[in-house]
Symmetry: C2
Subunit: 191 residues, 2 copies
DNA sequence: GGCATTTATAGACTGCCGTATGATAATTCA
DNA sequence: TGAATTATCATACGGCAGTCTATAAATGCC
């Protein structure tokens, strides 16, 4: 959003932003992304149409903001200080992600959908959702390498893509993402 | 499309179908999927609006049909009779796919997009595009196993997902898919 | 207080989507 | 030939998107 808050002029009504996000998220969670119209959202928030467009360019961006601010979808970084095997850490981390995916599959699907046609949105989604999770895996793999749990010549970048690709591939194709997949992946990484 | 051709009544005008597909594909290739409206397509084909809806439920399905029938996007099955190493066969096969992806990335992106909101479409896309390619890789890996080029306890299903996930993951996130990725993947599979 | 600046609102406008309707055309069957 | 069936066409409709305009409201600055 990069507010830039200009000191002069009528200030933005933060209550309107909040109301829009709350209404949007509630409607989407309840009826599904595509079934919710922008008209519906602004009416529900008791706010003028233009006010929404003053803040977000698309429904996808609004819902993305609402999703991250109001739903609790932060991932927990695995504790690299612990002595737990890195294979277990990875497996647990993936299980955590898969739980979210199961719950938010439809919303995430709509984000992926929006990202294909709106490259600006794609970048935001990538930065806020995809990349942070990929970073964690990358760090975890490097740590495992430095501890000697992983072959030192493993192609970390490629394996990060393997791991994330495996479940994104299932997600976009509408296949279930069972918890056990986390174990299978972790086993194969550390074999 | 499962025609079911009923013998009675006025027959469908095949020329209209062809015209619609040609116009749709041309417009999409030229302007991009989202920039093309249904109204534009039917006008361009000189056909009534209803005629399009008699044949396809959505723009995505029409374009999908056009894409597969008019563009030449068949993949070539690697020759499992040849004595070439399976690693090379895999690498070459992937390079072939990556070339298509580079050319059709935007169209494919719009298919992925449509698939997220339309589950019927998702299944068609999966059946006609994704699954055939995954099958080939699966067969290739099994063949490599039977020839002793691949560890017999490798999890074929998982690796098929790894391989496809790796480039789908890049595709949906708008990252380039360099030819060299094919080599990297094949190396890691057969290491 | 007057002015520039920014936001908010209501309403209108164009274009498109998906559906519906009524009329007409092309074909098979009895 | 006439009835039944299906396809096509022109047209219209309600709903939504995204843009635009005119007007009012809230703030900082001089």
């Amino acid at each position: 959003m990069s507010q830039e808050k200009s000191s002069v002029g009528r200030p933005k009504n933060e209550a309107a932003s909040t109301a829009l996000k709350e209404v949007a998220l509630n409607l989407v969670m309840q009826k599904g992304y595509d079934a919710v119209s922008i008209t519906e959202i602004v009416n529900g928030a008791g706010v003028s149409r233009q006010t929404l467009y003053n803040r977000w360019a698309t429904k996808a961006e609004l819902v993305l903001d609402a999703f991250f601010e109001l739903a609790n979808r932060r991932v927990e970084m695995p504790d690299l200080k612990s002595q737990t095997s890195r294979q277990t850490l990875l497996s647990d981390f993936l299980k955590q992600i898969f739980l979210h995916l199961e719950k938010d599959g439809d919303s995430l699907g709509s984000f992926v959908s929006a990202a294909q046609s709106d490259h600006d949105f794609r970048e935001k989604f990538y930065t806020r959702f995809v990349a942070p999770r990929a970073d964690i895996v990358r760090k975890l793999l490097k740590d495992a390498q430095s501890r000697g749990e992983l072959a030192p010549d493993k192609n970390i970048e490629l394996w990060t893509a393997f791991i994330h690709g495996a479940f994104w591939y299932r997600l976009i194709n509408g296949q279930p993402i069972p918890q056990d997949l986390a174990n299978e992946i972790a086993e194969e990484v550390f074999r």
